[in-house]
Assembly symmetry: D2
Homo-oligomer: 150 residues x 4
Amino acid sequence: MDFTPQNPDFATVVAESFARQGLMKALGIELAEVLPGRCVLAAGHRAGLLQQHGYFHGALIGAMLDCAGGYAGYSLMPTGSEVLTTEYKVNFLAAAQGEQLVVRGKVVKSGRTLTVTTAEAFCVQDGAERLCAVMLQSLIRVPAEGEPKP
Amino acid sequence: MDFTPQNPDFATVVAESFARQGLMKALGIELAEVLPGRCVLAAGHRAGLLQQHGYFHGALIGAMLDCAGGYAGYSLMPTGSEVLTTEYKVNFLAAAQGEQLVVRGKVVKSGRTLTVTTAEAFCVQDGAERLCAVMLQSLIRVPAEGEPKP
Amino acid sequence: MDFTPQNPDFATVVAESFARQGLMKALGIELAEVLPGRCVLAAGHRAGLLQQHGYFHGALIGAMLDCAGGYAGYSLMPTGSEVLTTEYKVNFLAAAQGEQLVVRGKVVKSGRTLTVTTAEAFCVQDGAERLCAVMLQSLIRVPAEGEPKP
Amino acid sequence: MDFTPQNPDFATVVAESFARQGLMKALGIELAEVLPGRCVLAAGHRAGLLQQHGYFHGALIGAMLDCAGGYAGYSLMPTGSEVLTTEYKVNFLAAAQGEQLVVRGKVVKSGRTLTVTTAEAFCVQDGAERLCAVMLQSLIRVPAEGEPKP
């Protein structure tokens, strides 16, 4: 599915918003790619991202899936909009073992008020990717000042 | 609903597992209370927990909801078990503004293989609690060695 | 939680909308009770509501949970509004065996645009209720004509 | 993704189970196709499948999504297994207007105990398909007699 961004500066807008997220900075999560309706996040293996058995923590994976979906949706919104997650759900498929976690979000339906996205989390081990979690998410657009509020 | 723990040392088992989670330590999340079928986590306001508008990050709230539900379920499992989240979903109700975040998980149904939990996230502002997110979750019990594997 | 309805005729509005739902009529589902922010549906045991083992079909339970939550939310909306489910999720807790299914929906958060609800499904066997499924749902209000559209 | 069925008679097993579902019969839903890890259901426009505005009822769409995912998963299970939905979630994307509803389920991950599936619902209008809902689901396999129970 191809999406046409309403804001030509979408990549800058996403990057600036991401840079202001204290949580993403604290966790060392990297914004790897932003395309219209798509966003990729990545994280390397570090003690502060793990659960009790040394795998990437499911709650971290959920957090990255939420963010990747959120920024995929945000990339299609008009100038001046803000975005909020209203809900998301995650299914875990495999233990997240590996040297890196790569999370890819993409828009399923971009509406004026609500956007629906999905995202997939892959762990990279010895260079091979393995799908370890999937997400489904709803976003709400907060209109820019001057637009009628929903 | 009252639950009878199968492992009399459930509180110690939960605390030791929580202490081994690098992510919870990195985020400074505190295990505030463990009762049979219940678990409370708390976090104070810090830059590393926030999103771009200075509120607690939704992805952090999701992570704490997942953990609180997971440890609520784990508290009822027999000695030697391990617990994995198979899926969870979060609905956000209000902007998470305040000086503290308190997340309370509890078991809805504790089965031999699968457990279902819910959790609620409250932000505390000027001493008053406000419900800001709710969660519904499935856990799977990984049996101790020697038990038949599911 | 107590809710004050914005439309004094909320019970009539809900009943009239329910009566226009061909699916509910075809399935013989009964609107048992409507209170502000609450709705109860019921169905008796009949071949057309069952799955392959003679229990109430999970998909029927999901359908009733969706409707009960939707009408719980609709009961709080201003005159002239319409309501749409944007998403829901169901966890099944026990086989739905019994002579009747009773589903109770209630509002968690009623917003101007979005409403969040939960619902519980109980099977009644020999007069005793057993919780067999839980739901979490988002609704969107479609404003009456003349209101600014979201 | 290609799946190899463990039961060579998977298509017959699925069709026989589907035929025993009173709810599917009552609703006139048709089992259109079964392939390894895939299942397609279809329903024509009829008063008994609609909501109050004459569209296909969201609760019907949810029911078909649940079933299509369930039988997609069941097609990969070994002889003698039974399947239960443990949870599912649906996001609605567009009003389900049209002369037919087609729902396609497919397996994301097939495990020994748990299976994760997705499904998409399309409404067909003047011969063109439009995506109107997406689902994410967990199934549990109930082993055949003689197998160790989970």
